[in-house]
């Protein structure tokens, strides 16, 4: 698990941004990347891979590994580490490969 240092926790209460992750509300510090907010909220994993369905989480935090892909506001395959949190953002865990609509 990850946690916020006191200085960051203070900023969280002063400048809170609320997003929902799989339906649950997550309070984030304004300026956090979504990946940082997910770590601070206690989730190390954010998706299941398309190849084997194994759980994965953010790995590089700088936009090069593509392991932090999530669905944001209905758009799949968004990099959580490259996306700043925004009030009202709707985030979904990504499960496996996409299915072709019938």
């Amino acid at each position: 698990m990850f946690r916020r240092l006191d200085a960051a926790a203070t900023e969280l209460s002063a400048r809170t941004v609320r997003v929902t992750v799989d339906g649950a509300v997550l309070a984030c510090r304004e300026g956090d990347s979504l990946a940082a907010a997910l770590f601070a909220g206690g989730s190390n994993a954010c998706r299941d891979t398309a190849v084997s369905g194994s759980p994965r989480g953010p790995f590089c935090m700088m936009g090069v590994c593509y392991d932090c892909l999530v669905t944001i506001d209905g758009r799949a395959n968004q990099q959580a580490c490259m996306t700043p949190v925004r009030e009202g953002m709707v985030v979904g865990r990504q499960s496996g490969a996409r299915e072709v609509a019938a």
């Binding site: 946690r3 240092l5 200085a7 940082a36 790995f59 935090m61 590994c65």
Partner: protein
């Protein structure tokens, strides 16, 4: 962008494009703009600083003792850049760059907030920096295993740190810097698993003179002393395995001095040095060469950073790892050279103005050979075996790559056709070096002869929707309209 052209004219223009806002890019853009060059700096992050000075103007950790003075030096680059007149395009990803055959220069495609724009530039400075060297060990894809660089970004940008059992593993200055910053912040580290082989100090000794005269010595010793006092360090680690169930890291198993140990861990932070981030320099067609000292590819550049592609200069760690201080001086060298190429200054003035920067670069580069020799990533951690995943995106194992190489696969590009390794969204960034080395290993060849993936534009995934927002020009319409009414 102040003079954005997105609404009226579809394509904007500048004389110099700098890609990347780390120390090299910031220094290059500042220097170039002060030379009177119309300069644009495009960077992926919301704020300038690169990874080394990530969030330096926005970090929640205002107690300067936590991250240390070397980090706060980044502020000294931001203010002159802000005043320089260079245009800063933040949060934008450059994904294509093509030579304009008729008018010269390059057409550059970049996307920000889902909107794609085109920019024409006469000269390019690539300052794309470094990324973590792939460190393929069993279990490195488990959630809870992240790079030390990622952990440091979490610390700098969000003040987010591990809680619960935490292990750092690998080698290199960054591993100890992170440990030191964690200790400053009151974060507990349960162990550092040091993979530097015991004989390395002896090998590095011939390079000690440069190190002894460098700024690294005093800082390094202070830092090492603090970390040794605060964290149990296991030296001579020869194998590391991340173990877990239900998608979460639970334990780390390692071997040292011939014995195996297992420790509980919720976080494993990996580091085996950094390598140039070269997808853009490769896609644009610049020549790259294998570095024997650093076991990675580097673009071939001259003393100014000029690449084999005319009009493209490369500065900072993206042109070969030399660290943040060297990067800013290399950025200034590249800018002065670009100024001459663009006809803003003559050769005499370039050679005159560059002198203090060359001296500063020489000072900043002292001691690097010592580090490179000491912290060269051990073979066992660069050339994995068995079920260890090599390509994280397509989940291809070392055994698969090795077997395919034994069957006679000719190189990394054919390996893609066999196994799909390197064909996922990271575009080979976390498997390319490993695949080159495994083929070399199995076929008894040198990595330089094995080669690397052919990197093509777009260098990062772009959606069709983002393509569709490309500016419409007569030429682009003519290209798709076959029959005119």
């Amino acid at each position: 962008m102040n003079r954005s052209a997105s609404n009226d004219t579809p394509i904007s223009a500048c004389d110099l494009l700098v890609v990347g806002a780390g120390p090299a890019g910031l220094a290059a853009a500042t220097q170039a703009a002060s030379q009177g060059i119309d300069t644009v700096l495009i960077d992926e992050q919301p704020a300038p600083g690169g990874q080394i000075y990530r969030a330096v103007n926005a970090t929640p950790l205002r107690d300067r003792r936590i991250l240390g003075e070397d980090y706060w030096h980044g502020l000294a680059l931001l203010e002159p850049f802000a005043r320089s007149g260079a245009r800063h395009v933040a949060g934008a990803m450059v994904w294509a760059m093509n030579r304009l055959e008729e008018e010269g220069g390059f057409e550059v495609a970049y996307t920000a907030d889902g909107q794609t724009r085109l920019l024409h530039t006469r000269h390019v400075i690539l300052a794309t920096g470094a990324q973590e060297r792939p460190f393929p060990i069993p279990g490195w894809t488990l959630p809870g295993v992240i790079t030390a660089g990622a952990a440091q970004i979490l610390l700098k940008t969000a003040g987010v740190v591990p809680s619960g059992p935490t292990v750092l593993a690998g080698g290199g200055p960054l591993l100890y810097l992170l440990a030191w910053q964690y200790l400053n912040a009151g974060v507990r580290i349960d162990a550092i698993l040091e993979t530097t082989p015991p004989g390395r100090w002896r090998q590095a000794l011939p390079h000690a003179w440069g190190f002894l005269r460098s700024a690294y010595l005093a800082k390094g010793l202070k830092l090492l002393r603090a970390v040794r006092a605060g964290v149990p360090i296991v030296s001579g680690v020869t194998a590391i395995e991340a173990l877990g169930e239900e998608g979460a890291l639970q334990q780390v198993r390692y071997s040292a001095q011939g014995r195996s140990h297992t420790v509980p861990a919720e976080q494993l932070l990996l580091h085996q040095g950094v390598v140039p981030n070269s997808n853009l320099s490769r896609a644009i067609g610049a020549e790259h060469a294998w570095s024997e000292r650093q076991d990675c590819w580097e673009p071939v550049v001259d003393a100014w950073g000029a690449s084999s592609v005319s009009g493209v200069t490369i500065a900072g760690d993206g042109a070969g790892i030399a660290g943040a201080m060297a990067a800013e001086h290399r950025g200034r060298l590249a800018a002065l050279h670009a100024a001459m190429s663009l006809g803003k200054i003559d050769k005499a003035r370039r050679d005159d103005e560059v002198r203090p920067h060359q001296r500063a670069l020489a000072r900043a580069s002292r001691g690097r050979e010592f580090f490179e020799t000491l912290y060269r990533a051990p073979d066992t951690f660069r050339r994995p075996t068995g079920d260890t995943i090599v390509c994280r995106c397509e989940e291809v194992t070392a055994a698969q790559v090795r077997e395919t190489a034994r069957l006679g696969c000719q190189g990394p590009n054919q390996m893609k056709s066999f196994l799909r390794c390197g064909m996922g969204p990271c575009q080979g960034r976390f498997c390319g070096l490993t695949v080159t080395e495994l083929i070399a290993d199995e076929q008894g060849r040198h990595p330089r002869d094995v080669g690397y993936y052919r990197i093509r534009f777009p260098i990062k995934p772009v959606t069709l929707g983002e393509f569709a927002t490309l500016p419409q020009t007569d030429a682009s319409r003519d290209a798709v309209i076959r029959i005119r009414k």
